[in-house]
Amino acid sequence: MSISRDKIEQVAWLARIRLEDSEKEALEGKLSDILGMVDQLQASDTDGITPMAHPLDATQRLRPDEVTETNKRERFQAVAPETQDGLYLVPRVVE
């Protein structure tokens, strides 16, 4: 199957990826090839098959609701691009 330029732009927006026009052109062909390859799946008979979430069908473990981590705000914020007074800085959201 092929994917249209409009659809690529919509998906790129959902993924918050900005594409140049030249990139969109190259992507039309390559994404269509990939989706075409993936479409082989549609021909397989999967009636009554349970989707597989974990190879050994393990389920999410529960743990006691206890505090185990210490506050490492300074360590974590040391790798952030911009912080101030212990807060992460982003462009103004509310005018």
Partner: protein, 484 residues
Amino acid sequence: MHTSTLSELARALEAGETTSEALTRETLERIRAHDGRYNSFITVAEERALEQARAADQARTEGRAGPLTGIPFAHKDIFCTEDLLTTCGSRMLENFAPPYNSTVAQKLDDAGAVCVGKANMDEFAMGSSNETSYFGPVTNPWGDGLVPGGSSGGSAAAVAARLVPAATATDTGGSIRQPAALCGLTGLKPTYGRISRYGIIAFASSLDQAGTLTRDARDAALMLNTMAGFDPKDSTSLDREVPDYCASLDNDLSGLRIGLPKEYFSDELSPEMAEQVRNAVREYENLGATVKEISLPHSHLAVAAYYVIAPAEASANLSRFDGVRYGHRCENPQDLNDLYLRSRSEGFGEEVKRRILVGTYALSAGFFDAYYLKAQKVRRLIQQDFTDAFNEVDLIMGPTSPSPAFAQGDKTDDPINMYLEDVFTIASNLAGLPAMSIPGGMVNNLPVGLQIIGNYFDEARMLNAAHRFQQVTDWHQQVAPNGV
């Protein structure tokens, strides 16, 4: 000392023939002198490594040394190492020094192993040739202009060039085994959940598994002894006992039942490759194993299922890179969306963007059932193929990759062709099974990998089979012509 295996170095350290500091200095010196040719390291951790080496020597004098104490090795640059740059091969994380250790890094630190640096890799582990790294391609020591495979190409090239005796790696669709095959190494991807994923930068969480690239099976067993085990910090880690993988290496192979999937000897495999793999399997018959043909009837769907599941999970995992908490941030963002859009577009490379888009598409409204859910059902069928096969055989063998090392640039413009590099390796990730690649022959003077797939948690049997093979063959001792 650089021609020695990890086990030989461990013996030399134990016998007092050398010190970790001497070994580490020699290793750092060789990386400095020769890695320009391979580009296998992104970061070399000189000071840190020498400190670790001196601490290892101290531990030995105090009688606290284990088998890995003082051994220099490399981490794939996907394992978070505290305060040591961890880039994942991406501009996005060019300046990221993690505030914590991955469990694997912590365990190897605790064992006294000496991390000399972080190995190059395909960006976010997406690639089969190590050509998508922001830090440049890696060259295979088996020939200038040849790819080392990927995504753990730096780990593989560093071991094949004899810069380090061992390296950590990760395997989501073949990223340990295919580089092992192309570089003439022993690569081990254990059962999903055997080694903690905590602190490994996530690509496709239901498929990712850490493992090793080493010169032989004994060294892989030594590494696995330290790396394996339950970790409460990894929600999919499995709580099973960790056996001593070295203890069973010499077990007799009489009566071992080996299955050869007929689907793995199809048109995708050249006759020369098939012949090498069949010759290798014949050695197992000489060792007392029985060999029969088996069928994995859904094999042809593995690549398609993988290229839905892996990109879908990647698109979710990589949404965390938003230019706010860590990683690349664009200059002068105008508003929040501009911050997201430009930080991500500048930070990610072409292949990563492509997979994020495929994954976002597959998960988007109206497509989820047709793609992701369908792929997860096919995944169950693929797993069932293996379950049926393991009722009849103990191990499955076949080729690791369709061809030996190929030329840089050969497949970069053709994603599908590149994806087919992993046509034989992907199925064991989908099923969560342990699998290895060991050197099993040569075509055109380049190494050919023999793949060994085991049942769940049967790493000991795979390592036993690999080790016995390596005692009667010398493919694993062939030296890359451009090695050090």
